[in-house]
Symmetry: C2
Subunit: 228 residues, 2 copies
DNA sequence: CTAACTATTTAGGCATACCTAATTAAGTCC
DNA sequence: GGACTTAATTAGGTATGCCTAAATAGTTAG
């Protein structure tokens, strides 16, 4: 019984590795099959299947022990960061050069990230002047694969009311993103925050922006850092 | 036995339709399975299979009679032109905005043409100022699907020596394309042509360009029109 | 008119990437 | 420690898009 070698240079493998990276968090903790199934919108059985392939490839992309979740191997991490770099450079490019509305960049980048060449990556990076952050405030991994750790925290974590600077905004929910943008909640903006209750927040950005009331889930999409 | 409906919104279907369009020529003649197999680099059996799917879809993309070749239906033609528009806009964009070398635009466009959104198409079209021609001199189909017929002829067809204007250059062979470019054979260039024999041509572009000797196959890649 | 050749189609498989249903392993609770 | 509950895996199947080999149709040559 010869083990046939499978091809893992696929869009699907890219997406699994990105998901493991995202869900593992800064500590790169093990990620469960169900969490991946949830995030990727596939059945848990499909996840198990792909994880087994990713783990048993000649160059393994994940460390996987049955029923104990996965974490990325060095090769898997490299691959995830490569795709993440494509994604964030594309978002920046679509926003800056092509004038996309902020809430539309993510979906387009999500598709194209798998199909651009290294040349395309290099050319848009050059055109943009080697940007360090995407339009959501997320750090763009370097070509070398290096990426600085986040020091910000979710707005939903604050105990005290006060004034903060917007670090970054999640790109996952385009409706929320559009609303936040319309209220001036953009990376670098100064923000007055009132926590009405465990569940409700009121934000006001500087300038002529109207205040905005957000539920806990919405506040979780905004990351902040101290005001200067 | 219910006929299950197949999904034909795929990269593969795109490529078959483009190939039928290209091989059908200006008269849109029927195209044979082997010609398609050759062009697409797949087995003839694979072509038959796809043509049957394209022909029997609820909205047929081709007219197909067994062993008599195919031609595009109205819907198939629309789809082929849509992808061709993506392709040529992308080539123009890569060349003009991202500074790609001319011989590299085709392969990148060939992949991306299937994955860009209508928004992306619109934005690069706008950025480029609604161009009518790609960097190879090929006409970019309008959004409406209208495209003017070619009036040029292949350089390989000339009977007389003389002076001509370069209309367009095939993007299929990147090595040849690079060489032609280096010798000033670019769309709009004025060209002195000598036909040495049935098989050999000598071209010289205006300016400080060196003359270039080409075999019949190379001359077939250049289309010309009369000098004003 | 039939044999031979060539083009095309049919039949049967394989790989990727999904799915559902059934099974098994791991915790939790009494 | 056995009964529940939940997470995860295995088993078996589907769709796309390709393949090779075998069969067949159409065409040309004697
Ligand atoms: Mn994004
Ligand atoms: Mn993706
Ligand atoms: Mn091209
Ligand atoms: Mn293509």
């Amino acid at each position: 019984m010869t083990t046939r070698r499978v091809n893992l240079n696929t869009e699907s493998a890219d997406n699994y590795l990105k998901a493991v990276f995202a869900l593992g968090g800064p500590e790169e903790e093990r990620v469960s099959s169900t969490a991946l199934a949830d995030r990727l919108g596939v059945a848990p059985a499909s996840v198990t299947n792909m994880l087994q392939k990713l783990a048993t490839s000649p160059v393994p992309f994940v460390e996987y022990e049955s029923r104990r979740g996965v974490r990325l191997s060095a090769a898997g991490r490299r691959r995830a960061l490569e795709i993440l770099r494509h994604h964030r450079l594309l978002e920046t490019f679509l926003y800056e050069v092509l004038g996309y509305p902020i809430e539309e960049v993510h979906d387009e980048a999500e598709r194209l990230e798998h199909f651009i060449s290294e040349r395309f990556e290099e050319r848009i990076d050059a055109k943009l002047g080697r940007p360090k952050f995407d339009p959501h405030g997320h750090c763009i991994p370097a070509l070398s694969g290096k990426m600085s750790k986040q020091t910000s925290r979710p707005l939903s974590d604050i105990e005290e009311d006060g004034e903060f600077v917007v670090d970054s905004i999640s790109d996952q929910d385009s409706v929320l993103l559009k609303r936040l943008n319309a209220h001036g909640v953009t990376p670098g903006a100064r923000l007055h925050v009132l926590r009405l209750s465990q569940e409700e927040f009121v934000l006001r950005a500087g300038g002529r922006f109207k205040p905005l009331q957000l539920p806990l889930s919405g506040a979780g999409a905004v990351r902040i850092r101290p005001n200067d």
